[in-house]
């Protein structure tokens, strides 16, 4: 169910209801009769990263959605429970609640727009969530993962460093080290990470859903995109594909700044990333149409 529609250049902003009764906020960018190659019956659901990566990359997601809509794709962006302008508190959200949110978004699109193909596109934590959701939902036509986080536990553990930095700034000393913070979370308290309260549901789920554990199977067409600045020689994702022996997803190494982090210069254009992503979706959608897979 959706409430209160608004319109910016054909974009529709609204709240839609999760099966648990909470309201999720989303913005739909309908396909425009464009001059590009996109079939208008293909929809893309964008899965946000979390923490400040969501806020830093917000405009890039808007720019991508507007560009894709011009190219003939319908794009749906939404906030997870406990994030953005959706209901709930961050500390109550976990990986499973976020996967359920993506499933709700898929259902909403399927019921309301009936696209013939739905692709999931995610950035960072959102990319990992997109891969995990697609593993459960076989009706998804494909997944594009922009710089996915392969080891969620490590990622969250690293984020706790920001709590230590804050302790040093405020108290001139570390009062609780990382292990103590982890123990606090597992005892049911929350720990503040850059303003977000990290709680037990997220941490516990990270251990279960870790892609790095090696038991992850790629059921769908997948494009894993490594995003690195020109100076970086990060091979994490390429190595992961090589060593884990997963069924072969497509791989793209894209030279681009890490736009999900605070940057010195704002809003890179990301033309290459956008074009290659849409091109891959276009080819996969055509293949999907031919083979029915």
């Amino acid at each position: 169910m959706q409430t209160d529609m608004a319109l910016v250049n054909k974009e529709k902003a609204f709240f839609f209801e999760h099966s648990n009764g909470s309201r999720l906020f989303g913005i739909l960018h309908p396909a425009q009769s464009g001059n590009c190659h996109g079939p208008s019956d293909t929809a893309i659901i964008y899965c946000n990263p979390i923490f400040e990566e969501h806020i830093c990359s917000h405009r890039i997601s808007v720019n991508f959605a507007r560009h894709a809509a011009q190219c003939g794709y319908t794009v749906f962006r939404f906030d997870y429970f406990g994030d953005g302008e959706s209901d709930g508190l961050f500390e109550h959200a976990s990986i499973s609640t976020r996967i359920a949110d993506i499933e709700t978004a898929i259902r909403y699109l399927r019921d309301d727009l009936r696209p013939s193909k739905i692709f999931l596109l995610g950035l960072r934590f959102g990319a990992t969530l997109a891969l995990l959701t697609a593993e459960k939902d076989l009706s998804v036509s494909g997944v594009v993962a922009w710089a996915p986080i392969m080891n969620l536990s490590d990622y969250l553990y690293t984020l706790l460093r920001s709590n230590l930095t804050t302790q040093m700034a405020l108290h001139r000393k570390i009062i609780h080290d990382r292990d103590a913070l982890l123990a606090q979370i597992l005892d049911g308290s929350t720990v503040n990470v850059d303003g977000y309260e990290m709680g037990k549901p997220l941490l516990e789920d990270a251990a279960v859903y870790d892609l790095a554990l090696g038991n992850f199977i790629f059921h769908h067409k997948c494009l894993l995109v490594q995003i690195c600045p020109p100076t970086s020689k990060d091979k994490t994702l390429a190595n992961f594909i090589g060593t884990k022996g997963v069924s072969s997803p497509d791989f793209l190494a894209e030279t681009e700044v890490r736009f999900w982090l605070p940057l010195d210069t704002v809003y890179p254009r990301c033309d290459g990333l956008f074009a290659k992503t849409l091109n891959w979706i276009h080819c996969s959608a055509q293949e999907h149409q031919k083979t029915g897979k």
Binding site: T3, D4, A6, L7, V8, N9, E11, A13, F14, F15, F25, I27, F51, E52, I55, C56, H58, R59, V62, D83, G84, E85, F90, T166, A169, L170, H171, T190, N192, D194, G195, Y196, E197, P262, L263, D264, T265, V266, Y267, P268, R269
Partner: protein, 330 residues
């Protein structure tokens, strides 16, 4: 209950916002609060702070709007690709003010509100007070961690010892330390064996001396301000090279119309102490004419963006009390 809204700015660009409605719908004379974006981060604010504040205030009977200025978040418009620091300085010079004034007009007209309060954090606070001074239907402002100094565009890519010398006490300490070192044999050994970075040392001496002299000049200026010889709308209270005089003029002109201002600072934030030394100690001294209209609070053990549940709770509690006192929601 929240609803997404679209309104146009004076350039015809569609701006995107979210309105938080109070449960009670008695809007006659009800105050509306607009939360201004802090920099280039979109309307929900850092770690979703704006959304938290908006939901809290709407649950206490206030109408709240958070919106994206042109080029930000989900609004239309382009945003120039240039260094972030330059954008910050543009914002501190009022880049978003026209969009904020348009948001005030939209909020007043569309929801039939009695008065508007502008709120913001950091650059959002600067934008809020500059826009508030220009709009006669804005009667209150909540300013969180408001920087009185422009961001430092010099040496932005490298740390410079010279650039951090900013206070008189610090300069006096540096110069006295240097004089003390000149009495030591080891220093002279270093001088004669050319093991001293002359350029760096000279730059430090020059900067410290100039800061010290400007502080002395400041004291004379403060004395004149106290004796009302100088007008705060015409003369900056500080001669700090990065002092934001537009902000001073806006704040003073807003207060002179008997509007209400709440300023909340963080105890562990450079911005707080810069504000204290460059503005508060000079203008808002005991017995100042704005005392009844301007409240300043410092939250201890808080950083610039008030991360942590305790500082956040303190902000909400201070806001509740201040709003209840001056703008009782109906």
């Amino acid at each position: 209950m929240e609803s997404p809204v679209i309104f146009s700015n004076r350039k015809g660009e569609n701006l995107f916002g979210m309105v938080f409605r109070p449960e009670s719908d008695d809007r006659k004379h009800a105050p509306g609060i607009i939360i201004c974006v802090s920099s280039i981060l979109y309307r929900i604010g850092p770690y979703r702070l704006h959304t938290t504040i908006s939901r809290h205030l709407s649950s206490h009977g206030y109408w709240v709007l958070q919106f994206d200025p042109a080029g930000i978040g989900d609004s239309e418009g382009a945003f120039e690709e240039k260094p972030l620091l330059e954008h910050h300085v543009d914002i501190q010079k009022g880049k978003f003010c026209e969009d904020i004034e348009d948001a005030v007009d939209f909020f007043l007209k569309e929801y039939h509100l009695g008065t508007i309060i502008l709120a913001g954090l950091c650059g959002g606070a600067v934008s809020a007070i500059i826009a508030a001074a220009k709009h006669n239907r804005v009667n209150g402002s909540i300013l969180l961690a408001m920087p009185i100094l422009f961001d430092n565009l010099e040496n932005k890519n490298q740390f410079s010892e010279v650039s951090v010398i900013s206070s008189g006490v610090q300069s006096a300490h540096i110069l006295s330390g240097m004089i003390l070192r000149l009495t030591m044999l080891q220093t002279w050994k270093k001088i004669f064996t050319l093991k001293i970075a002359w350029k760096n040392e000279l730059a430090i001496v020059l900067k410290a001396s100039s800061v010290l002299f400007s502080r002395l000049f400041d004291k004379a200026r403060t004395f004149l301000l106290r004796t009302k010889t100088l007008n705060l709308l015409d003369i900056p209270a500080s001669c700090h090279p990065r002092y934001n005089f537009l902000l001073q003029r806006s704040l003073i002109s807003f207060l002179e119309k008997n509007n209400k201002v709440l300023m909340i600072f963080a105890g562990e934030d450079f911005v707080t102490w810069a504000f204290k030394s460059e503005f508060q100690d000079k203008v808002l001294r005991p017995g100042n004419p704005y005392k009844a209209h301007c409240q300043i609070e410092i939250i201890p053990h808080a950083n610039h963006i008030f991360t942590g549940s305790e500082p956040k709770a303190a902000i909400l509690s201070i806001m509740d009390t201040w709003l209840g006192k001056h703008f009782h929601a109906l």
